[in-house]
């Protein structure tokens, strides 16, 4: 008996049977939260417990105790592997073996043992996103989803970017996680969380969320209509004036982007455009081109730009400033 008792080894392998099952997950293209349910704390989860094989042992017993020393359950097995269901929690376990006469040896020493919730069942593709950001918010919506997990009362989702930096982490009581992320490539890991905050090993949700930036729309200048000098019946347009100074206004002001641009000057018969000024709208609705006072030809080139977005194509406009007298 001593030999047997002394031969009783500590658990060598505490493995989740479900892990093997997850190798061939069932495709689940869209989350169906109503089909899943979260575990209640009393729910039992499959446990597989393996002790080291003892030579000559014909019967094995494993006893579960709580931390107060109260025996909660005793499981029997003809071999060193135990398969049963038990509640998620932290326990103390011990084992003993018997020979073919069913004469048991002494119990082994108590060992701490944790029954973890199982990882969630994972769909083939767990992430859904439009793949581009919304120019107004500079973020794109991403949604991850997963299946139920025995023993899990909630899930911890951790999102990391392409550099491995954690960008968000949340506890979710459900089977989907929706968030808004900046342009980038993201992966998410999922941990089942059961009673007493006991967590499963993290699993990586299949698929990457790739969110690309978008190109801003090019700015549209606002013009004022004036009668065409060559034919009063016709209308022509020109830049609005502020006390005689050409003024740049936009038809639609962007909340996320600045309109940035250059003002260039060119002499009549001149060969090149000469930079005169740079401007940026910031929050302003107009830019008074006070550097466009010298008579001659001018060209405005303006585009929208914003951090995290591709700058827009440029809008150009040429105009002439005439002297007021000779």
């Amino acid at each position: 008996m001593k030999l047997l008792r002394s031969s009783v080894l500590f658990p060598l392998l505490l493995a989740w049977a479900a892990m093997a099952e997850e190798k061939a997950p069932v495709p689940a293209p869209a989350p169906a939260p109503t089909a899943h349910h979260l575990a209640v704390e009393s729910e039992k989860v499959p446990v597989e417990l393996e002790w080291e094989r003892i030579a000559g042992a014909k019967f094995y017993e494993t006893e579960f105790q709580n931390y107060e020393g109260k025996t909660l359950a005793v499981f029997k097995s003809p071999n060193n592997v135990f398969k049963f269901k038990f509640k998620v929690g932290r326990y103390k376990v011990r084992s003993r073996v018997a020979d073919d006469r069913k004469v048991y040896g002494e119990w082994s020493v108590l060992t701490e043992f944790t029954v973890q919730p199982k990882p969630a069942k994972l769909p083939e593709k767990a992430v859904a996103t439009k793949g581009v950001i919304d120019p107004k918010t500079l973020t794109g919506e991403v949604m991850w989803h997963w299946g139920e997990a025995p023993g899990a009362t909630q899930f911890r989702v951790k999102v990391t970017d392409q550099n491995g930096q954690s960008v968000c982490e949340e506890l979710i009581k459900g089977f989907a996680y929706k968030t808004h992320l900046k342009a980038g490539t993201y992966t998410a890991t999922l941990t089942s969380v059961g009673a007493d905050g006991i967590e499963s090993e993290p699993v990586t949700l299949p698929g990457q969320a790739v969110i690309e930036t978008v190109q801003l729309e090019k700015p549209v200048f606002a013009f004022e209509e004036v009668p065409d000098v060559t034919d009063p019946k016709l209308k022509t347009h020109r830049l609005p004036q502020t006390k005689g100074v050409p003024t740049l206004r936009w038809k639609a002001t962007s909340t996320v982007a600045d309109t940035v641009g250059t003002l260039e000057y060119r002499y009549f018969f001149g060969d090149e455009w000469i930079p005169v000024d740079k401007f940026t709208s910031k929050n302003a609705k107009e830019v008074i081109l006070d550097k466009a006072m010298k008579p001659g030809r001018y060209r405005i080139t303006a585009w929208a730009e914003s951090a995290g977005l591709k700058k827009s194509e440029a809008t150009t406009y040429e105009f002439v400033v005439k002297p007021t007298s000779y």
Partner: protein, 303 residues
Amino acid sequence: MKALQTAIYLISLLCVMRAPAVEVKSPQERENTYTVGPHSGGVDLSAAFSNKSKACESFKEFQTAYEGLMQDRDLALGEEKGARLSLQISKGCNGSANRFFKAYEMMKKTGVALTKAVEVGLDFAVLDDERLNNFNEVFAKMYLESVLDFDFATAYKVSFQLSRDYEGKAKDVREDFIKLVKFCTHNDKAALPLRQCAELALKIVDHTPKFPGGLYDSFEKFYTFLRADKRMGLSVIDSLNLVPKVFAYGPKAPENFQAAMEYALGSNKITIDHTNAMNLALRLAKQSLPPQGKEDLDEAPKK
């Protein structure tokens, strides 16, 4: 004999020296468009040398040009380049420096590249004051937003057409053009769109050299006849388009045209419809010019 050779040499030298960069007639040649006399087209050297007031104050022009150029911070010419340019300017004889700066400053103020502004200044330095006035006045009127507000290219082109490149008396064409544009854009008169008006005015002033003192008075009279006489039945545009066709044949042509129309439509002496009356009037307008050799006459007017 030797004196004659010297005179020929001096004449040819003078001609070479006074030849402007642009191949144009001399101011005197152009201004004498209407003069038919024994001395036209030639230069009387003795008269030129004896008349001190007409001789060129070349040093004064050079000095004025040089000092003006040295003060121009935009050009920033060194002394050598300044002197070279001043020498070119002073070739235009009396008033050349003043003409240079007036044309140059105007172009500079417009925003023309300095090299081009200098080029324009040089063009007018070697021409006369009237031509410069044409250029400056026509350009200012056509280009300024407060007047005709044409684009630069059109204003520039037309201004040269009516000044440097104009073959005739500069003052006449300037006044004709300005008056015609005023007339055809005026609400009480033709009220044409500006561009159309300017184009028509340019077609009409093509014939100004044929009208001593300008053609505006003849134009106004002729246009009034075309529009006021109901028998003509011509619109504003038709009337204005008819003007250059008639005026092409000189100052007597409108008078002949009008007389022919009145005779054809208003008298009982000839029975003719409106189309044939017009043909007859145009034909007689064409015959207003003295015959210049054998001309292939059109077929007889249709009855």
